[in-house]
């Protein structure tokens, strides 16, 4: 009787695993085949670009603040000057 119950429980668990396993394998496959190479590609591009950025040894943090200030100023200007969207239909 106990063995029968155990077998029933195990078969129920196996049915669930059978249903979710393809989804897990597919998502892992997509990550490995598509997302990971994209990540490596982007990492290589970024690695080449950031070598030109002023690092902590230069102490030029104000350069980043100026860039941030330009974007903030541009955002405030556009939000105040053009609050509505021009629909091009």
């Amino acid at each position: 009787m106990i063995l029968q119950n155990l077998q029933d429980t195990l078969s129920k668990i196996l049915v669930v695993i059978e249903k979710i396993l393809p989804a897990i394998l597919w998502s892992m496959g997509i990550i490995l085949a598509f997302v990971l190479p994209l990540g490596l590609f982007l990492k290589d591009i970024l690695g080449a670009l950031v070598s030109h950025f002023p690092g902590p040894e230069t102490g030029l943090i104000w350069v980043y603040f100026i860039v941030a200030g330009i974007f903030l100023g541009l955002g405030i200007f556009l939000a105040v000057k053009f609050p509505e969207r021009k629909i091009q239909l």
Partner: protein, 159 residues
């Protein structure tokens, strides 16, 4: 409330949340929790010099990211400028992730010292970043698609 004020409030809200999430919380974690931490006899290797480098990139790229999120959030819905700022923000986030995580935040050199017995091992979580980078690239593709849509076939506002 007029549209101008609404846009500005939306923008400041987004910028503030970015400052808290991308600068203040990691800064607190690295400076107050992880720096010079020794759990039991295990030294995590986050020295002051190493934390200073991490914080430099955190503040530098975090501030650019926060200002860009202001510009994006304060733009009207489905507008071309929102799509443009979205693409720049995604790129900025990619730089933030790259510079902050590759600045030493994911290299953990654990030194063990149990009286007579000492040892050292090295943990490197940098491979985990590749998946995040892949997701960012997918977001970039979606951002470019949004830009093309907003430029070539603009969505009509809901009335």
């Amino acid at each position: 409330m007029d549209t101008k004020t609404k846009n500005l409030l939306r923008g400041f809200g987004a910028a503030l949340s970015n400052v808290i999430i991308k600068i203040l919380i990691p800064m607190y974690i690295f400076r107050s929790v992880l720096q010079d931490t020794t759990i039991m006899e295990v030294d995590l290797g986050f020295t002051k010099a190493k934390v200073d480098i991490i914080l430099f990139w955190l503040i530098a790229m975090g501030s650019i990211s926060a200002s860009l999120s202001f510009s994006k959030a304060s733009s009207p819905k489905h507008s071309t400028r929102k799509a443009v700022f979205d693409i720049i923000l995604i790129l900025s986030n990619a730089f933030y992730l790259y510079l902050y995580r590759f600045s030493g935040a994911l290299d953990i050199a654990v030194a063990l010292d149990f009286g007579g017995a000492t040892g050292m091992f090295y943990l490197n979580f940098e491979n985990m970043v590749y998946i995040s980078m892949g997701v960012i690239t997918l977001n970039l593709i979606i951002g470019l698609y949004d830009f093309i849509i907003s430029y070539a076939a603009p969505i009509e506002e809901e009335l």
